[in-house]
């Protein structure tokens, strides 16, 4: 095609998502300045992200001042479910976008009164792969799996498992009804992320939520302590 045209190869080497990463850093420093512990909750559609947040917000009532951002493809349903438990909820309609990006989080945060807020939950779009690559400025990523998805999902989604600061296994109330090799699942997680805590919970029955709430409390203390110094 270009026999006559001389060309030059220009080496660059820069992360493709550099622009998103820079925006995420501005979000992160703003949240850190306010002492807000921010959680990016990532899991498959139907794994129970909204249900877990509903149960969590119910428990935090009167103890913490949470805010929630929820990414949803087309509806306001998740946002409406969460607004029953928390008066600071912003729904981010992603259209056909399969993940949240830092710019959307930054814009959504401007719609919230963040005064006094100490914990921010971000329910990402239901997807186990691509949200992992988009930094939102969160303090931690939580990978949510559930018993009904099958025990091979950690092995099949190494990026999420590797990036996660906590792995939650939801729907343990269904353990008597589904075959799920919990030790195999945990071995896969350990292979990818040797020290990540793994907590089993049920958003429906509340089983195991106390340890999840303890983990959140430690995160909030850390974020508030870091602001104080």
């Amino acid at each position: 095609m270009s026999e006559q045209v001389k060309t030059t190869r220009i080496p660059i080497v820069e992360r493709v998502l550099e622009a998103n990463d820079q925006l995420a850093e501005t979000v992160r420093s703003e949240l850190a300045r306010r002492g807000i512990f921010a959680i990016d909750l990532i899991g498959a559609p139907g794994s129970g992200k909204t249900a877990l947040l509903e149960a969590t917000l119910r428990q935090l009532k009167g103890r913490r001042r949470p805010a929630v951002l929820v990414g949803d493809l087309a509806t306001r349903r998740d946002g409406d479910r969460l607004a029953r438990w928390c008066d600071r909820v912003v729904q981010i309609s992603t259209g056909d976008g399969c993940h949240l990006e830092a710019g959307q989080v930054r814009d959504a945060l401007t719609q919230l009164d963040l005064d006094g807020v100490d914990i921010l939950f971000i329910e990402n779009v239901g997807n186990l792969i691509c949200p992992v690559g988009f930094d939102l400025g969160q303090a931690v990523k939580v990978g949510l799996f559930s018993l009904t998805e099958g025990d091979d999902k950690a092995a099949k989604h190494p990026y999420l498992v590797t990036a996660a600061n906590l792995v939650l296994l939801n729907k343990i109330d269904l353990a008597p009804y589904v075959s799920f090799d919990r030790s195999g699942f945990e071995a896969d997680v350990r292979l990818l992320n040797a020290n990540v805590p793994i907590l089993s919970v049920s958003a429906t029955t509340g089983e195991g939520l106390d340890r999840w709430l303890d983990w959140l409390d430690r995160g909030v203390s850390g974020a508030q302590g870091a602001r104080a110094t």
């Binding site: 660059i12 690559g133 988009f134 190494p158 990036a163």
Partner: protein
Amino acid sequence: MHEFSIAEALATQVLRHAPPGRRVREVEIRVGAMRGLEPDAMQMCWDAVTHETALAGSVLVMDMLPWSLACPACGRVWESPVLFAECSCGEVSPRPTAGDELDLVSMTVDDDDGEPEATAAKGEAGAS
């Protein structure tokens, strides 16, 4: 399809780096195995995103990196097409050492018609 957002981000990035007035022929990226990027889907998205833009017709070259595994027992490090692999020493749990790369590596642009020699010299300096 996250390939679409990545293609969009990449196109913006390439336009930012491209020398003004020089046609971009080729864009080279490096993709770690963890990213779960589908080359065919990525190619399709690149064509769609660049259609009728200054980047139309540019070739996207994807260097899909294999897994890099490290054996916790014997310390061997090697490249593997699959994540779950046994080490030659018998250890069954080698761990991935990387895989989240997603980098723009280079772009190839037409030389400036006006001063081909100067441009070629600059290109050589840049490539070394």
